[in-house]
Symmetry: C2
Subunit: 110 residues, 2 copies
């Protein structure tokens, strides 16, 4: 017990949950925000932007990467991280479709 029952849900549900989960920590929201702000791939100094130790930041970057929200390329002895747009648009589209469904709802009960 204790492990998420992934196999009982649809691929789409798991996919959305994975992306949402990756954004379910303020440090990771802050990382995305920073990558957007600098308007360029940045090589390093994400660590300096965050109130967390370097190994912790590295771990958060790894999670964002494995969820497909950022990508990184080796650039000398640094690594160039930037936003991976595809999955950002995937979750944006998800919320847009949720919003559309909400607009079509007739009953406003609660």
């Amino acid at each position: 017990m204790g492990a998420t029952k992934t196999e009982h849900f649809t691929d789409k549900q798991n996919e959305i949950a994975t992306i949402a989960k990756a954004l379910g920590h303020p440090a990771r929201v802050a990382i995305i925000e920073y990558l957007l702000k600098v308007d360029a791939c940045i090589c390093g100094d994400i660590v300096n932007e965050l109130p967390l130790a370097q190994p912790t930041v590295s771990q958060h970057l790894k999670e964002l990467k494995s969820a497909g929200l950022i990508k990184g390329e080796i650039e000398g002895n640094a690594i160039c991280y930037c936003i991976d747009e595809k999955n950002i648009y995937k979750i944006l589209n998800y919320f847009m479709s949720v919003s559309n469904k909400l607009n079509k709802k007739k009953k406003n009960c609660c």
Copy 2:
């Protein structure tokens, strides 16, 4: 150690993370999906829709509620849950602004 350092991040960052985290489990994505599909407040039978025991579903509902994604009203001996639109739009707006910032970016490095 081990506890999220909430206090080091902005209110906005924590707010987005909280909403995203609530959607960071396929069961909770499935619940939202179901509430959208039935096009009405439903009273009960969410449990029958999910491959999880009743206490587990109840816990997931509690989390969605505390994140402000659903709301529930007592209706006889049942409870009427439905989507709380406000926070859905809040996270939709967040992803729209992320998308806008992405569109304004000139460099497509990685």
